[in-house]
Symmetry: C2
Subunit: 426 residues, 2 copies
Amino acid sequence: MNVLHRPDRRRFLFAAGTAAGGAATLGTGVVQAAEKAPAGAQWFDVPTDPTKEQGRAVGADGGYGSRSQFETTVRVRYPTPNENTSWSLTPLAALVGNITPSGLHFERHHGGIPTIDPSRHALVVHGMVGTAKRFGMEDLKRLPSVTRNHFIECSGNSLTEWKKPTLKNVQGTHGLLSTSEWTGVLFSTLAREVGLQDGAAWVLAEGADAAVMTRSIPMEKMLKDAMIAYGQNGEAIRPEQGYPVRLLLPGYEGNTHIKWLRRLEVSDKPFMTREETSKYTDLMGDGRARLFTLDMDAKSVITFPSGEMRLPGPGVYNVTGFAWSGRGRVQSVDVSVNGGKAWYPARLDSVPEPMCTIRFTFPWAWDGQPAILQSRCTDETGYIQPTRTELIAIRGDHGPSASVYHLNAIQSWAVASDGGVSNVHA
Amino acid sequence: MNVLHRPDRRRFLFAAGTAAGGAATLGTGVVQAAEKAPAGAQWFDVPTDPTKEQGRAVGADGGYGSRSQFETTVRVRYPTPNENTSWSLTPLAALVGNITPSGLHFERHHGGIPTIDPSRHALVVHGMVGTAKRFGMEDLKRLPSVTRNHFIECSGNSLTEWKKPTLKNVQGTHGLLSTSEWTGVLFSTLAREVGLQDGAAWVLAEGADAAVMTRSIPMEKMLKDAMIAYGQNGEAIRPEQGYPVRLLLPGYEGNTHIKWLRRLEVSDKPFMTREETSKYTDLMGDGRARLFTLDMDAKSVITFPSGEMRLPGPGVYNVTGFAWSGRGRVQSVDVSVNGGKAWYPARLDSVPEPMCTIRFTFPWAWDGQPAILQSRCTDETGYIQPTRTELIAIRGDHGPSASVYHLNAIQSWAVASDGGVSNVHA
C-alpha cells in the first residue's frame, strides 16, 4: 500500500474492517470520519489519479473484504444508562436497495452479546413432544433449509414519538428496523423430528444470553413459518443477531425472535414470562393492558428527504423510503406532500414479499414552498397505516413510557422554505 | 470484554472486522483459524456457559458489526505470479442462501484495487451524444434508481477444467461466481439526460484503475438493462467491486462489468480494445476465434457434497448447489447420482429471478456405494447445460489456455465408498 507523501495527494484513514470511527449521535445522525486511527487502521495516501499507480493487491484484506474507508456511517446506540442492556439503530437514510448490511443491522440486547462456540452449542426441543431431542449446529445444518427475506422490527420502534416529535432524524425515529436474507430450518421440520403431543399449543423459546431471554409463541405460528435461522445474508448469522442460531418469526415483534436460541419447550399454555407480562404489553386507554400483541402492523417511512437533511433548492427530487407489514405483503404505498390533504401512489421498486420491507420512490417537484411529506402503507389484508390521531383514539393517549409499543403511525417530515427538513406531528 | 483466565474456559481469537486470519489454499479450500492475532485482534475467553456472564456491550464494535471469530472462511487468491493482476475465488461451499456476503465476493483485477475518493470521482458520458455530461456521485444518486439481484461470473470460471479435472474443490472450480443485490441508475436514464445521436450503436466503458480497463458494449444491451451501480447488498459498493461506481451488465461475462467506472463513450462501432481482441476471445476448433461472446450460458454446480468433503456414512443427505443463466431465468435443475444415466428434478429454493443464481436442493439416500453426482441447468430459453463432451464437439479441444473461456459444462463429483468426494470427469 502506497505511503508516500506527495503534495498532490490527500491523506485518508484506512479503517480496517469494522473500525468505522467517528462520533455519532442520534441528535445529528451524521457521522464524521475518525480523527484518529481506530484499532487496525493505518494512514495512506489517495492518489489524485488512481490510474497512475498500481492498486491494492488481492488478498491484502486477509481474504474477507471490508467497506471503503470513505464509508463511515454506523449504527448509533440509544443513550441508555446500561450499555449491555441497550440497543443501536440502523442508519436507514444511508441505506440503498432493500437489504440491511449485516454490519448495520439494528441491535436490542437484554444482557449484552454472548460469545458462543458453535461446536459446543445445541438446541434442545422438549416438553409436550414425542421424543425430546438435542440438535447440534451440524444436526441443524443437515436438515432441509429454507431461505427467505424478512424484516425484523423492535416493538419499541418509534415509541419515543407517541406524544410529540422528540428525535431529529429517521435513524432515531425508525432505526429499530432491518431486513436480511435469512436461512435456516423451519420449526415444522423439527416438529416432525420430535413429534408433538395432543394439546401442544405454545412453545417457550429461550436464549443463551446473560438475560436468558424467554418468550412464549403460539404453536400455530411456530408451525406456519417459524424458522430456526443460522444464516444471514449468505453467511453465518452475526453475533449481534444470535450467532450461531436464532428464532425467526416473520412479522412478529423483534423481541420474540429469540437470539442465541438454546431451548424450545412445548406446552399447552403460555409461560407468562417477565417479558410478556410486565414488559412487552400495551397499556390501553381504559387502564387494561394488551398481552401477546405479536404482529407488527403495516408501517412506512420516508428516508429521503428526512430529518436533519437540507434540500439545496427547488427542483425535482426522488422521494424514497421503506414500507412493510407483519401481516403479509405490502400492497401499495401512497405519498403526500401537503400533510395528508392529497395522496398519490408511489412506485414499488421490487416485487412485494411477505413480511418484508419494500422500497418505494416518488418523484416530487418541489416549488420551494414549505411542505409536509408523509407516506402511508396499505398491506394485502386491506389494513391502512393510521395517523397518530387515529391510533390514539383506539389505544389511548399515554406519555412516552415502556407501555407504548406498536406505534405504526404515519411519519411527517416538514420541509421549510430554506430546504431544511425536520420531524413534526401533522 | 471478559479477559479472565479460568480453567473452565477456552481462549479464542477475536478477529476484529475483516481480520479473518489463517492460511488458505485452493488445494484444500479449508481455512484454519489464525494462529497469531492479526491487526486489530485481541484475545479473550469463551465462557462455558454464556448465560453466566454479561455479554459484549452494544457499540463495542464501533457501530459496524463483524462476523463471529469462529467464522474464518475466506476467499482464496488464485496462485498467479502478480498479486495485483490476479483474482480470488468465493468459497461457494461455505455459503448459505443465495446472496454472496460482500466480503466474500470473488475478485478479478487487472491493476489492483484503486483507492478512490467519491467526492472527486465522476462519470463522463460523451461521444455520439446530444450533450456530453459529467455525473458526480451526488448527481448519479439523485437520479431514479433500481435495485436488482444479479450474479456476476468471470468468463474464466472453471477454465482450468477444460481438459482434465485439476482443482480439488468447488471454490477452485466455480468460485469466480458471486451474487449481490445491486442498486444504481439504468444507463437508459443517463441516455435520456445526454441524448443519443443517430447511428449510436456501441458504448466504450472505461475504468479508473491502473489497467484503465476498457470494453465495448452493444448499445442494445446498454439500453435494455445496463446499470451504473453504486450500491451492493444495501450499502456502498465494495472497493474490490468498483467503489464508488461500476457498470453492471446482467448476464454478461464479468470482465465487461467495468469497475471504478469513469467514462462511457458512445460510438457507431466497437473500439476493438486489447481486452476484446487479444484477450477475452474464444479459440474455435477451426482456428478462428469468437469475439464478443458476452452472454454467460446456463450453468450449475453442486456445492454439497463437493470436492474434498467426506460423508460420514450412508444415509439421507440434502444435496444442494447453485444454478444460473446469463440469458434469463433458471427454469429447472436436474440432479443425477449415477453420472448422468438418470436425472431427477431438484427443488428450487426460491422464485427464479432473471440473470440471478438460484439455490437448488435434492434429498439423496446414499447407500454407501460409489456414486457420481451431477447437476444440470435448463434456462427459460430452453437451453440445457451441456456435458463437457458436447461442448468440446462444438468448441474444439484446446488445452488449458487463455483462449478457453465460457466452460459451462456439467460438473461431476465422485463419492467413494469411504465417503470421500473428489473432482472427476465423467
